[in-house]
């Protein structure tokens, strides 16, 4: 298996509400996004989507835990996949969440795209924590060429997003993208 860093970005001093990777090459089998995030508001719940589609994220299932209780819900909002909570001014300074977003078979053109998202943060100062695990699929079958992580608040400075391409199999030679 080969994993390459395709692109990355770090939010500057002014913050931003959206991080978008465009013109993603179709040469890998999976996309993996690693997000380390903090908001300038108290806390926030950013979302993820691909190709800027607004009506295709409709089969998500989420497990959410902020302590000993686990709740589950269907992420059927149709426009995005939820990522989970990220910390902000309610929590300790310099506390960031960590998210992993994976989109397998992203370059295929016949199968619906699936995704999984895991996010966690633990705040020592406020003794708070959040664990988020979501999976789902979208109804479009076109190749994913852009991904977007967005918030109606502002991602704080030093929020980082890394986009990796993973080539499965023996150097990728044994994998067929459908």
């Amino acid at each position: 298996m080969i994993t390459d860093l395709i692109a990355s970005t770090t939010v500057g001093a002014g913050g931003t509400s959206t991080i978008e990777f465009t013109s993603i090459p179709g040469t890998y089998t999976d996309l993996v996004i690693l997000l380390s995030a903090r908001t300038t508001s108290g806390s926030d719940y950013p979302r993820f989507r691909a190709n800027n589609y607004v009506s295709e994220f409709n089969k998500g299932q989420v497990l959410l835990s902020g302590g000993t209780t686990v709740s589950a819900f269907t992420d059927a909002s149709n426009t995005y996949a939820q990522i989970g909570q990220i910390p902000g001014t309610t929590y300790s300074a310099n506390n960031f969440s960590n998210s992993l977003i994976q989109v397998p078979n992203y370059a295929g053109t016949t199968a619906a795209k699936t995704y999984k998202i895991q996010t966690v943060f633990k705040d020592a100062g406020a003794n708070a924590e959040q664990r988020f695990s979501g999976t789902g699929f979208v109804s479009f079958t076109t190749a994913v060429t852009s991904v977007q992580i967005f918030s109606s608040n502002t991602f704080a400075q030093y929020t980082t997003a890394y986009l990796y391409g993973t080539l499965k199999g023996s150097g990728g030679a044994t994998v067929t993208v459908v």
């Binding site: 913050g15 931003t16 509400s17 991080i19 978008e20 990777f21 959410l64 109606s152």
Partner: protein, 76 residues
């Protein structure tokens, strides 16, 4: 302060910071509201089920009849 987006072109490696259009702002505000509704509903349901389970256990110990939902919660 205007909301912006960072756009990274993976082909060229060029990164731009662009101001969001009013339509994009309206869309993400609606998404934010929905996300908070989903989370609140999930947490409310988890609290309701926890309370129901406590009630069911108390009824069981006291020998009182359970509701169908309470029984289902205890034995699946």
């Amino acid at each position: 302060m205007a909301l912006t987006k960072i756009v990274v072109n993976c082909e060229t490696g060029v990164t731009e910071e662009i101001e969001l259009t009013p339509e994009e702002v309206a869309e993400i505000e609606a998404a934010q509201a929905q996300a908070e509704l989903d989370r609140a509903a999930a947490e409310a349901e988890a609290s309701r089920l926890a309370a129901l389970k406590t009630s069911a256990k108390a009824k069981l110990v006291a020998g009182e009849p359970l509701t169908t939902e309470e029984a289902s919660l205890l034995i699946g």
